[in-house]
């Protein structure tokens, strides 16, 4: 079926994209995926040979924030993704058809293209009360997820809600919401947590899949290590201020104006993993800590419950192990700070060995995924 379709380079050429630009795109993808340079040729070759695979994007208990985030994608742009890289055939928020015509697309996928298409899921799935809290075309979210993801070649869950139920599953979880993995355990899922997902990572996962025919290396939560393998704290541009004991004490104070560390304002960076500081958002423009607000740990497991209250200072900072209580941080004890930084590397390595085999929600994550996890 796919053989009748054009290749990506044909498509790009047809609209006047020069090879140089195509190679630039491949190069950006290699960088995001943190692949060695020698893979560059392979990415180019794979994208050149590949026919346009079909993608369907399902939305359940969502806010469409992940859809909107995808629309902000810069490399590739959403126009390139939708028109040239993939055939984006179902996506409620932006597709042309509605009602019967829209549902016919899903039927066609499941019946005629079994095992050929990629499925992306946004939003949680309500398991309570027979699934009445989310229906589309009169069918429950669970019914649709089982049918469509069960027949997909690969499935990606974007955003916190599709991963672990997200905000919808936060206490007291009124609708019995869960993530895709829990709702449909038979389907292997790659989770791209975050609120929302960062489209740079999602694009990189798609390209990796198109290039190598498999998903990138995953962690215990089935998240790609290239994006979720490092502590925010360790990549943070304000880290030097933390190490030097320079903290924002009040919103708008001198430290805030000078870009000092936000730890005392509740920043969850020391316990959160994500490549937010390096990839940033909106085509590399900024990220929350750069913009002056603490990290929420939005890529952490069950973050709405495990990382809130968001303005409360973390009791222990992962980098300082268990020896340094939060109260003594920021006292200007440079010697202690330096020693503790060294201890951090050792501590991370040790903790990595005792990383739990099973997903362990609250506060275990930062400790479990230091440098050794990457």
């Amino acid at each position: 079926m796919l053989s009748q379709f054009e290749t990506l380079p044909d498509a790009l050429r047809s609209r006047g994209v020069r090879r140089r630009q195509f190679l630039k795109f491949c190069s950006a993808m290699v960088a995001t995926l943190a692949l060695p340079d020698r893979y560059f040729g392979q990415v180019v070759a794979a994208l050149e040979a590949r026919k346009r695979p079909v993608l369907v994007w399902l939305e359940f208990q969502d806010c469409a924030g992940n859809t909107e985030s995808m629309l902000r994608s810069g490399h590739p742009t959403v126009a390139e993704t939708v028109l040239e890289l993939l055939s984006w055939e179902y996506h409620e928020t932006i597709m042309a058809g509605a009602g019967k015509q829209a549902e016919a697309v899903l039927d066609r996928m499941v019946k005629e293209h079994r095992g050929e298409y990629l499925a992306v899921v946004e939003g949680s799935i309500p398991m309570g009360d027979g699934g009445v809290y989310c229906t589309i075309g009169g069918r429950t979210a669970l019914d649709i997820a089982r049918g469509v993801c069960g027949a997909a070649k690969a499935t990606i869950a974007v955003g916190a809600c599709a991963w672990d139920g997200g905000l919808v599953a936060a206490r007291p979880n009124p609708t019995g919401a869960v993530g895709l993995e829990e709702a449909v355990p038979s389907v292997p899922v790659v989770n791209l947590g975050g609120c929302p997902h960062n489209p740079a990572n999602t694009a990189a996962v798609l390209v990796h899949y198109l290039t190598f025919g498999e998903m990138p290396a995953l962690d215990q939560y089935n998240r790609p290590l290239f994006a979720y393998g490092k502590l925010i704290h360790d990549q943070c541009e304000r880290r030097a201020h933390f190490d030097a004991g320079r903290f924002v004490q009040d919103w708008g104070d001198e430290g805030h104006r000078k870009g000092w560390c936000l730890y005392k304002m509740g920043c969850k960076g020391p316990e959160a993993t994500f490549n937010c500081p390096s990839v940033r958002w909106n085509d590399g423009t900024s990220w929350p800590v750069k913009a002056g607000h603490g990290c929420l740990g939005c890529a952490s497991h069950r973050f709405w419950d495990t990382r809130s209250p968001f303005y409360e200072r973390l009791p222990h900072v992962a980098g300082f192990g268990v020896d340094v209580p939060a109260t003594s941080i920021g006292m200007g004890l440079a010697g202690v700070v330096t020693a503790a930084t060294v201890a951090h590397a050792v501590g991370s390595a040790v903790r990595a060995k005792v990383r739990p085999e099973e997903p362990e929600p609250p506060s275990g994550e930062g400790a479990g995924q230091g440098p050794a996890g990457a």
Binding site: E68, A79, V105, D129, P174, G259, W281, S286, A291, Y311
Partner: protein, 570 residues
């Protein structure tokens, strides 16, 4: 009488189902149903009010930021906090940016395909398209070669047999009236608008770290630190330059692409000035404070109500007159469903009584939606860009009057034409043009204050919850892109006791109330022609003209602190 069911209604935010009864080629009756429920307000209970904005922002990712803004305003109202001027201006700038970006996306990516037949673009003469483009705008991307390249791109897509997002459209439908060249022009701008929105929204990223879901609000102000000469400050001289350039880019795009396109498309669909009228009642809270948040008279867009299409009178708004019905919603009131309840006294016990999924049709005689039915003094109201422009026009807002009269003159339509499907499209474009003009001025104002040494962005006197009274309650409002938005909060012992959001799409898309009065969608659909019941393109035009946002619209609160009853589905 055949019943048309459109589910999902696509090119909207969220999960909307519309059922319509068609008689003699037109809609005789219609029912609007929200089919998704999350219960965010229940989840909020017991949490820190200072972070309510972080949670409520996730009510919607399309109108991201509007719930965050309204939430901090509600908490500030409860605690009696006025934010510093810089914070007020930054908030206006963020909200104005969101409005412009959201309206552009709505027209090109959510609504245009109701008017534009993508496949007809293939029949266009690129040279004539260039002439058309140059006759309506000075936008530089207008050469024959440019449109030829766009056409080739579309042709390649069609020839591939994989039409992607366009695979399931109603192409060839008799209700499409644009000549091929206008279709090609619109397709080119569909793609350009995708690029524009992505670039322009970097204003949010600069000020709030990311979009969607900015991370920069604070109860008492903003987290965007200011210092002209500090590279580590969120706002410094360099960033001001960046913000200014982005604001200018919006003005260019809106004035040279969006508005001319709306006028050009509208010119071929003037019959839609006479369709989709709806309620004729319009409510606007007004917004963009130019001084104190309590000084409504100085809002950039005025507050008011216009009843029965009467542009000679603007009635005052008193939030005490707002109440919600659940008579046709999947909830129960303890005192019976015939009464309505004010948000502060709100009570919600979800009780699904619809058909067991999978189902074909709702029982619209009974309860049929997860949306409630808000009413003002027991009357249904339309909210949104049209309501804002109507209220501003009737209030004598000079800039709005000039813009509205200019557009109407170009289209040869009287002011009454505004009360229509196409009137909503026009009002949205007019409002975008208005806002795009003012963004740069707000950046300049911020710059000016900063260079005079005012870098205050937060009032921290009540930051510590220990300084709060034991009990407090308040509400905040905003004019979101889709209309009047209000959040009500009750605080007790430093925690959220009750939270309630009454949201634009709830006003517009809600079901009938206890008296059987239709909401704005249901009323607007009446008499809408439907040429082909299998492909109800005309129905989508009217629904899309409201810019539905269903995730926002479905909410739940329970002032009594009850937990959700588990439902029986039989």
């Amino acid at each position: 009488m055949p019943r048309i069911v459109v589910d999902p209604v696509t090119r909207i935010e969220g999960h909307l189902r519309v059922e319509a009864q068609v008689e003699g080629g037109a809609i005789a009756d219609a029912w609007s149903s929200g089919t998704m429920f999350r219960g965010i307000e229940i989840i909020l209970r017991g949490r820190d009010p200072r972070e309510a904005w972080i949670w409520t922002q996730r009510i919607c990712g399309v109108c991201t930021t509007v719930h965050a803004l309204t939430s901090v305003r509600a908490v500030e109202d409860a605690l009696g906090i006025e934010v510093p001027d810089n914070a007020r201006i930054i908030r206006n700038l963020i909200a104005g940016t969101q409005l412009v970006q959201d309206h552009v996306i709505h027209f090109y990516h959510l609504h245009a395909l109701d008017w534009v037949d993508v496949t007809l673009a293939l029949k266009a003469d690129p040279g004539k398209t260039s002439q058309l483009a140059e006759s309506i705008s000075t936008w530089p991307k207008s050469s024959r070669n440019y449109f030829k390249a766009v056409q080739d791109r579309v042709k390649k897509l069609v020839d591939s047999g994989q039409l992607s997002l366009f695979a399931s459209g109603y192409w060839g439908h008799p209700a499409y009236h644009l000549p091929p060249e206008a279709n090609l022009l619109a397709v080119a701008h569909y793609i350009e608008a995708l690029e524009f929105q992505r670039e322009f929204i970097r204003i949010h990223s600069v000020l709030g770290g990311k979009n969607p879901h900015l991370q920069t609000y604070l109860v008492g102000g903003m987290a965007s630190s200011m210092d002209a000469n500090e590279p580590g400050a969120t706002i410094n001289t360099e960033r001001i330059t960046q913000l200014r350039e982005l604001a200018r880019s919006a003005r260019s795009f809106v004035e040279q692409v969006y508005v001319p396109d709306v006028l050009a498309v509208a010119g071929f669909y003037k019959d839609w000035f006479g369709r989709g009228e709806g309620l004729g009642n319009f409510l606007a809270y007004g917004c963009y404070p130019m001084g104190s948040i309590k000084d409504h008279a100085k809002f950039f867009l005025p507050r008011g109500i216009v009843l029965n299409r009467d542009l000679t009178q603007v009635h005052p708004v008193d939030p005490a007159n707002i109440a919600e019905y659940v008579s046709h919603s999947w909830y129960e009131y303890s005192g019976g469903d015939a009464q309505s309840k004010h948000p502060f006294d709100g009570e919600t016990n979800p009780k699904y009584s619809g058909p067991r999924p999978p189902f074909q049709q709702l029982d619209t005689e009974k309860k049929y939606s997860w949306l409630k039915s808000p009413r003002y003094q027991d009357q249904p109201m339309e909210v949104g860009p049209l309501a804002r422009m109507v209220v501003a026009y009737a209030s004598g807002h000079q800039e709005v009057r000039t813009l509205v009269d200019g557009v109407l003159a170009k289209l040869g339509a009287p002011p009454a034409a505004l009360f229509s499907t196409l009137g909503r499209v026009a009002a949205r474009a007019i409002e975008t043009a208005l806002m795009a003009r003012h963004l740069e001025g707000w950046v300049n104002e911020l710059d000016d204050r900063m260079s005079h040494g005012d870098v205050r962005i937060h009032d921290g006197r009540l930051w510590d919850p220990a300084s709060w009274p034991r009990e407090a309650r308040g509400f905040g409002t905003h004019e979101a892109p889709r209309g009047a938005l209000g959040h009500w909060i009750e605080i007790e012992d430093k925690a959220i006791k009750n939270y309630q959001a009454v949201v634009p799409t709830t006003w517009n898309a809600g079901p009938r109330d206890a008296k059987g009065q239709r909401g704005a969608y249901e009323a607007a659909l009446l008499k809408t022609p439907v040429a082909d019941g299998e492909r109800p393109l005309e129905l989508l035009r009217t629904i899309h003209s409201f810019d539905p946002c269903l995730a926002c619209a479905v909410h739940v609160a329970d002032a009594r602190g009850n937990t959700l009853a588990h439902l029986q589905v039989d």
